[in-house]
């Protein structure tokens, strides 16, 4: 995915394999399978060029990250999806920062006394 994001245009399986090959030893078919799966999940788009597919990312990393965050926050509101992930702190349960700081000071002082 990084390879696709780093390049501007479309890449074939061979291009991706060559660029990945610099860092690690991967089989050509592995790259092909991964790209095929990503395309099915609509993370990348592909167009046929002769016999080979040309791959490009469906969205930028920033767009996808933002969408992921939105999705994880929306899950906080949906009752049946609440249990899918455990958030460190729910959005609505935060409270006033000043109050929290005061509570923490109180607690640590209590601790040291």
């Amino acid at each position: 995915m990084d390879v696709l994001w780093d390049s501007d245009g479309q890449l074939s399986v061979r291009d991706v394999h060559e660029r990945l090959g610099k860092d690690r030893d991967l089989a050509y078919t592995t790259v092909m399978t991964v790209l095929d799966r990503l395309a099915k999940k609509k993370v990348v788009t592909r167009v046929r060029d002769g016999r080979a597919w040309q791959y490009s990312p469906a969205a930028t990393r920033e767009e996808m990250t933002a969408a992921t965050m939105r999705g994880s926050l929306e899950a906080l509101d949906a009752d049946d999806r609440k249990a899918a992930m455990l958030h460190f702190l729910g959005e609505a349960s935060a409270g006033e920062i000043a109050d929290l700081r005061a509570a923490l000071t109180e607690v640590t002082e209590q601790q040291s006394s």
């Binding site: 995915m1 990503l38 999940k41 993370v43 990393r61 920033e62 996808m64 990250t65 933002a66 992921t68 965050m69 999705g71 994880s72 926050l73 899950a75 009752d79 049946d80 999806r81 609440k82 249990a83 899918a84 992930m85 455990l86 958030h87 460190f88 702190l89 729910g90 959005e91 609505a92 349960s93 935060a94 409270g95 006033e96 920062i97 109050d99 929290l100 700081r101 509570a103 923490l104 109180e106 607690v107 640590t108 209590q110 601790q111």
Partner: protein, 299 residues
Amino acid sequence: MSTALPVLALAALAVFASVLLPRLLPRISWLRRTPAAALTLWQVAGLTGVSAALLTAPAAALSLFGPGDSVPALTGGTVQTTVGLVVAAILSGGMLVLLLRSGHQVGRSLRSNRREQRHVVDVVASRTDGRLRVLDHPGRSAYCLPGLQSRVVLTQGAVNALSGTELEAVLAHEHAHVRSRHDLMLEFFTVLHRTVPARVRSEPALAEVHLLIELLADRQAARRVGVSAMGGALVTMAGRGHPRATLGEAAADGDAAVRIRALPGHLRFQPTVVPVVLTGVALGLLPWALLAWGLWTRS
């Protein structure tokens, strides 16, 4: 000399444990001092509600239409017993089917949601370290996707804002969730919540269980990294990296404040654990004791 008393008690217990207790327990705030014992009590309450509800019909069939029963107008006790048992089996079986169906639905939706999220964070993560994924996002957020292929997800905004020890606290908290499989507990309560009719569902009960699970993870983290690091992590994470319109203003005694105030208590033994555990044991045995009573009065 059979009596309807044990059966009525079982039915009352089913209503008490599945309708009244979920409304009563969130009001007892000192239960939060011992999150593990409190969660055990909640689970026992849930199981008691289910078993009392499932046992009521068979107990009624066995004790009311048993041999030497007190309905003189009807003769042929064995036929009545058989018919009674069949009706009871249909009633209890129906309830069991509802429970299993909601369990199946909740479990499937949870797992498919998690799988989807896991695939996405694996792709978009800007940094990967073991099961940790860092997302390049300015907001402060941390969560875990529990399960066999678990992930802990942090935003870059959270990583930047947290100090070294606070970051350790957040990770310890999330690892506590993942390691102790808190998700399974939450799944159990979600299933029960969804099985009862919508009119008697109690949202505060589910919220309280959520809070207790967070308190439990806080406690495990505080024991590793200390109270001030854990508390600092809560304050930092509550501060927004970027403002987001919240749904109404958060209450002064929101979960974050409750969790911060609970921190010192996590390191001490809490004597209140004793009544909580004893209540749990008694409550758990009650439906079976009532069933035994019903069978005993039958003879």
